[in-house]
Symmetry: C2
Subunit: 264 residues, 2 copies
Amino acid sequence: MTHPNKTPSVKSTIKSLQIVEELQKRNGGTLKEISNALDISKSTIHRHLITLENAGYVTRDGNTFDVGYRFLNLGQYTRFRRPEFGEIKSALSDLVSATGHEVAFSVLDHGKIICLHQEHSQADYFDQRSTGNYFYAHNSAAGKAIIAEKPDREVQEIIDEHGLPQVTAKTITEENELFDQLETIREQGYALNRGESTEGLRSVAATVHSDAGQLLGSLSVSGPKYYIGDKEFHETIPMSILEIVSKLEQKFGEMDNRSGKSVN
Amino acid sequence: MTHPNKTPSVKSTIKSLQIVEELQKRNGGTLKEISNALDISKSTIHRHLITLENAGYVTRDGNTFDVGYRFLNLGQYTRFRRPEFGEIKSALSDLVSATGHEVAFSVLDHGKIICLHQEHSQADYFDQRSTGNYFYAHNSAAGKAIIAEKPDREVQEIIDEHGLPQVTAKTITEENELFDQLETIREQGYALNRGESTEGLRSVAATVHSDAGQLLGSLSVSGPKYYIGDKEFHETIPMSILEIVSKLEQKFGEMDNRSGKSVN
DNA sequence: CTGTTTTGTCCCATTATATGGGATATTCAA
DNA sequence: TTGAATATCCCATATAATGGGACAAAACAG
């Protein structure tokens, strides 16, 4: 159930989106710059930019165009699309209290992981802005926890599309090794990241499910190795996450009983 | 410099965006639902949805389509598009410390106000999710502070486009009254909202400018009337905001000197 | 302030592509 | 498993997207 799709695409839509993405990539730009970068005539880019501007998807400051705020409006919507997501966001602060580290909730999207919610600890030794960022599934705890629950065939598709690029010395770059580790994750019930995406960064993650049993995403806790000792990494933090997950899933049950839902 | 524009639009792009907006409006939907709602043939909607899905702008769960996470990625980008925005976000927590209330940073977009950053006080008596939401300019402190700095002609254009809809008994619905109040705001240096958008909600706002003097947006502080006394409303909070703004603008000067910018 | 260059805006004939009807394949629920 | 609902696909037709180039406006240098 992934993308390969033979339905002919709407080329104008693709072009418009390309323009917006180019604006993002270069942090805004002039008509001519975009025209050159995408190798599309000035008049075409002009018409697309004006169309997007009128719709709120592009802003303009003099002759500099940039990504519009309508994206923020829609982006925020996606963070709370499901009622469970709001509950999960609230639970993040509990997880911060329990662990004292950076925590996040992420989902799988097009074979990569994107962070929907993030909460900093008081002592934010690293104040990364993860929300809205895409990460590889194979080198993040959040990602491995999620794909561990997917059938091998689907994991293979992700590998085929995105590869297993090496980011640090510890990154898993062999398919077999990845599949082995996913098996371990299934047994343990949580995933670990030992500096596979950033040297010296440790993370723990476990998945969250809807009341109907559908995989929603994963909760993760991250911090530098010198702040997260071995016992914390292998015992305390995993336990804290699983406890929060279990409370969450129980709450989902209550939510759904109230409204009488039943899906999937 | 507002939208009316005679350049012919890219209709396919508009259609795609309409589809996404419809998904947002109804919190996801099936192909058939969207087709009915927009009165466009199934095959056309199908092609648009698949195009958007492949590009990451639509997600799909079975036969239910919804707004995709690519919007979150681009939306987060807009929140930090300018280096000043990051500084402003950081300053929000200082403003929370100083006032103990809900604070926000908002900008003008297409004649409405959109909140880019928001910080809750500890005692979050109301935990509204403002970020990414659009508000009227005429009934919010954040909005009035901003349009007070725009030429009358531009304010008139906003009124012509969005009107002065009455939301509470105190909402300003007369053009003259609005223009008068904007004059007062210019004299005072800050704007007030006395229950004009929500009964019993008080807000104070002041604008922030880049080092080049460009209007960036406004900082605002909000809370229920029974938590914000008269003296706080008219003296303490305005002072706190103006102090933070002044620190911010000084910092912008230092930032720009470092990189040697000079625009506008 | 003026001449010069750059960049955005607009128009039009040509070409490409978006469209909807309907036939088929899939999915979903009972 | 079966039937109903829904998504997917194909194709002829109509429509809309495109780029070249003329024009206007703004930015820049002297």
